[in-house]
Symmetry: C2
Amino acid sequence: MGKEITIYDIASQLQLSPATVSRALNNHPAINEKTKVLINAKAEELGYRSNKFASNLRKQKTNTIGVIVPRLNSYIMSTVIAGMEKVANDEGFNLIISQSLESQRKEIANTKTMFNSRVDGLLVSVAFDTDSFEHFQPFLKKKIPLIFFDRIFENSDCPNIVIDNAKGGYEATKHLIEQGFKNIIHITGNLKRNVYSDRLKGYQQALSESGILFKSENVWVTALSLEAGKEVAHRIKALPIKPDALFVSSDLCAVSCIATLKDLDITVPNDIAVVGFNNDPVSQVISPKLTTIHYPAKEMGEMAVKSMINHLKGNFNLDATNTITLRSELIVRESSLFLTHS
Amino acid sequence: MGKEITIYDIASQLQLSPATVSRALNNHPAINEKTKVLINAKAEELGYRSNKFASNLRKQKTNTIGVIVPRLNSYIMSTVIAGMEKVANDEGFNLIISQSLESQRKEIANTKTMFNSRVDGLLVSVAFDTDSFEHFQPFLKKKIPLIFFDRIFENSDCPNIVIDNAKGGYEATKHLIEQGFKNIIHITGNLKRNVYSDRLKGYQQALSESGILFKSENVWVTALSLEAGKEVAHRIKALPIKPDALFVSSDLCAVSCIATLKDLDITVPNDIAVVGFNNDPVSQVISPKLTTIHYPAKEMGEMAVKSMINHLKGNFNLDATNTITLRSELIVRESSLFLTHS
């Protein structure tokens, strides 16, 4: 790497004082426009890099926000991150991004890296199997703001950004019941995580309101993956008494299940109705089109970074907030409609 | 933010010398294990952050790699980034990630941020409309390594990581011709970009080898989005003479087109055969399952970061390489098979 260009180099080449150069680069009103243009052009020509880095070291700030998510390549998480990047970029912050790959062990390693990278704040959606809050304590001790989103710690004092998962689960199930379905299997993920346990609560509430007995054997915990969808279909095929509907906590898993059911001569919605979750684009392109709960992923990412930056700038005290809940909504399509068998 | 803990604080609390503390934290062999454990425990208790940040400033290194992609929330890009993060994390590097949103103007702003953030290297996949290389010059001038991946600049001297797009386009088209289809429309993206222009070359070569006349009106340039797929279907519905096959440069666009064709009473593959590109999970869950070209996105991300880190460590000279080409492959499924009309 070449020698770092300083304001002194620019000053000496233009025969100006370093103070003038420094003021011009910081757009100080005392310097006239013509001089600013001249100095900025020379700075660019020489490859000068603003000394934000050194100045951040003095201010103990890095203008970076750390993000830890379970997986970068899921529809919801990549959309959340797209929303985060947009706001961060507009506000002059960088995002440092890492993934736990659904493992607490890797999540712990990620938090250490973020801590040592001196992020100004940290945004986290926790892994499937995270049990302990311990690895987040160093941030709290150092008063580095920490926000959880999507998959949160309910009993921490940290602010959370979520959708109303219980309401989502309730609306999905209620809709199926209103269509006349009674034997509804719920396909979900690790129930340690609020997103899945809350949706289950909503499912139970809808059943209970309609006088349908809740059976724990109707809750199937899976990885909610493409493969899990296939396995669910085969498991249903083998059941002596088949369910009349499925409420699946992920669209990708739901559509994979529908495709496999079709291969096994079980058609949706005629034989079994299906409701998914997320409003992943995949829900619109399969046949039958999938009824689902719209998840405002981009808005969640934007809200998380906006809240963090407002807190860092002192405009908004995060600690006073406990939970921000974003609106989700049921989108009815063909996969859940009761069709009279002709 | 609390006062920053230094090695002097740890040393004074343990009544050890700062030199011993420093050596222990750097895992120096001269310090015995018991002392190391003691010092590391105290460092953690006090919330000590390694001084990599200050030491990086002295070394003019940040241990960060910048990544600019067109969109974070596309299947290919989120998978590439998942691969990048995995390798970077294993090697102790951070990724700073930004998106151009397919605009050269935003891409230019992103490169400035990356430059001022002092990334050690930059990985870029360019926007739809990027014309100029100018905004990358400051990196070359400063000898900051720059690698393009997926969407590259063919005439720059920078290393490129790509798949053989011409081969992909050729195999997709050849397969359709072998199935007996002759009037094949190619749905593609902005032809400024190598990925699309190269696939078009492959399409043309396959036609030419089979003695089928290439017609430019059979190449439809679109945004390759979900919406574009719907528009293509309506445009086909309106054609007096319909094509017998489509080769679409994105699976998501292809499946959206197939779903809309179905709504318009045109069935795939009976009326029109379709081949996509990417092997997006969506290709496996629709009916008929989509024939496509597998794109090794995770491997591309891993390769990009591995090459960058090897170059930064001096293990491998990037400048000697011009292009790394990863293997792609045709995956035949139902959407492209010739069915005799019964």
